[in-house]
């Protein structure tokens, strides 16, 4: 029998250290929903999602109850809508966002991802239509998440798409000015997007994925932080080992839940995403892990090194615990969703520049960052270009989820509520990038030898 201390330790992690399964995400292919009549396609999308994911929330709840482990989110990701809708005779794809939103409400999931276009090398007709539809689609729906992949290591950066996304983000913010630009919190611009990411807002069901799949995202920054408290003052070898051991346990639990969900739903298991995803709750913060390593505040010099160690150790510990690892797998650093990050921004120690450096060594990128409402589209595009360059050159996923908070300036705070948290408005560089962004075209794919 498992000994009493192990049982009590597990339950203590759940009760007091925010150990949870962050999301069970069902990926659903909508490729068979294509057609020429937009209304018919929208109905097919609604029917397929509600039928395929009918038991997702209930099954998640059952597993939660039986294992006594919270499963925070149940979600759905779908085939990039640009592909599904492309054969339709309509220019406005908002109708498909409405169909997804209705389906999400019907089955009880809090987000549905896949209002997506992959345009790293160029646009098809459907891609352009989808991107133009994003602001309205996000403003008029509640649960739909959109993403656009503008760059890959093999294709380089599509700077026309980068320019367009700056404008789309501004428009989305303007359409939702009453809620602090909330639409932008549901929109991710990617470089090297992955096809099996279970985390929102960037989840979509990639073209190489099966008909239907279950992907699970684990979390547990609080557990890692508490484990590190016992290693105070120890050398980094001990720190890395401690994180690895903790990540292993957390991931084993994710694997168990993923297998169980896959079995009960009769859907193949895809991957476990080994991510440390914070929430705004105290004690559920990635920033606090970095601070536990000896920094007075995240953003202090040393933060990038600390994050690099954390990210690597999480993967090393987690990878043996799961039969298939995928998704984004790494530490997330969304500012608004992490109490420690918010504190650091408000104290002026954590800046966009430092966050950008941090994204070189961790999963994803500039995430949930609010900037002044008068930030120009070109500046936002330039921020996206910088972040995409980091991803493309380093052969990793990077992303930008940025909110130009309407009518707000540095020092103001945007409150999105719930898991999306509160974002202090951060200053952007005083320089201008308009002519840089106006050029358009493509930044060529980087060389992958002669590396320095």
């Amino acid at each position: 029998m498992i000994n009493i201390n192990e049982i009590l330790e597990t339950n203590d992690m759940i009760d007091n250290r925010h150990l949870d399964i962050r999301t069970i995400t069902m990926g659903i292919s909508l490729r068979d929903c294509a057609g020429s009549d937009a209304k018919v396609v929208a109905d097919k999308i609604y029917d397929k999602v509600t039928k395929t994911a009918a038991n997702l929330v209930k099954t998640g709840g059952d597993i939660e109850r039986e294992f006594g482990i919270p499963i925070v989110n149940k979600r759905v990701s779908v085939t990039p809508i640009a592909m599904v809708a492309e054969s339709c005779d309509t220019e406005d794809y908002t109708i498909f966002a409405h169909a997804l939103d209705r389906a999400a409400k019907e089955i009880g999931v809090n987000f549905i991802g896949g209002f997506t276009a992959l345009v790293h090398k160029g646009f098809t007709v459907g891609d352009t239509r989808l991107i133009r539809s994003i602001p309205r689609a996000l403003a008029e729906t509640e649960r739909v998440c959109a993403s656009v992949n503008v760059a890959t290591t093999r294709a380089g950066i599509n700077m026309d798409a980068v320019r367009m996304m700056g404008e789309v983000i501004k428009e989305a913010a303007d359409l939702t000015s009453a809620t602090g630009g909330f639409a932008c919190a549901k929109l991710v611009v990617f470089a090297n997007a992955v096809e099996d990411n279970p985390f929102m807002a960037g989840a979509f069901h990639g073209v190489g994925e099966p008909e239907c799949v279950i992907n699970v995202g684990v979390s547990g920054p609080g557990v890692v932080k508490v484990a590190l408290e016992a290693a105070k003052g120890q050398p980094f070898d001990v720190v890395a080992d401690t994180i690895k051991k903790t990540a292993f346990r957390v991931t084993r639990m994710g694997q168990l839940v993923a297998r169980e969900a896959s079995l009960r739903l009769g859907v193949p298991f895809g991957i476990v995403d080994l991510s440390l995803a914070p929430t705004p709750a105290e004690g559920d913060s990635v920033a606090e892990i970095l601070e536990e390593m000896g920094l007075t505040s995240v953003g202090a010099h040393g933060t990038t090194a600390a994050l690099a160690l954390l990210n690597d150790a999480v993967k090393k510990g987690g990878v043996m615990a799961s039969s298939h690892v995928g998704g984004l797998s790494g530490a997330f650093i969304p500012v608004s969703e992490d109490a420690g990050m918010i504190r650091a921004v408000q104290s002026g120690i954590l800046t966009i520049e430092k966050l950008e450096a941090m994204t070189c060594v961790c999963s994803v990128g500039l995430d949930m960052i609010a900037v002044p409402g008068d930030t120009s589209a070109a500046t936002i595009s330039a921020i996206i270009a910088d972040e995409a360059a980091i991803g493309v050159v380093n052969n990793k996923t990077t992303a930008v989820r940025i909110i130009p908070a309407p009518n707000m300036g540095v020092g103001d705070v945007v409150d999105f509520g719930g898991l999306l948290g509160t974002a202090p408005v951060m200053p952007v560089s005083g320089g201008f990038s308009d002519e840089f962004i106006a050029r358009g075209g493509r930044i060529p794919a980087p060389l992958h030898s002669l590396r320095n």
């Binding site: 049982i7 109850r65 039986e66 294992f67």
Partner: protein, 89 residues
Amino acid sequence: MRAIVTVVGNDRVGIIAEVSTLLAQSGVNILDISQTVLQEFFTMVMLVDTAAYSGPFAELAELLETRGRDIAMSIRIQREDIFEAMHRI
């Protein structure tokens, strides 16, 4: 199905008797018991077999939780697999 029942609360006379009676009434077989007092709290862990319980697991969990509250104890039941997964390779 094998599950772990965890009982935590202030120590007093008769806790084990009350909990095992409750389990017996539900047709839950106790396979092993381990018990300690941690920071003045009575803490008991039982390995049980729920095969003879006729209803759904969630119902049993709720029953134990409610009855636990009645006797001022926290009683929870979880499938054994979660602990195996976390602590055994």
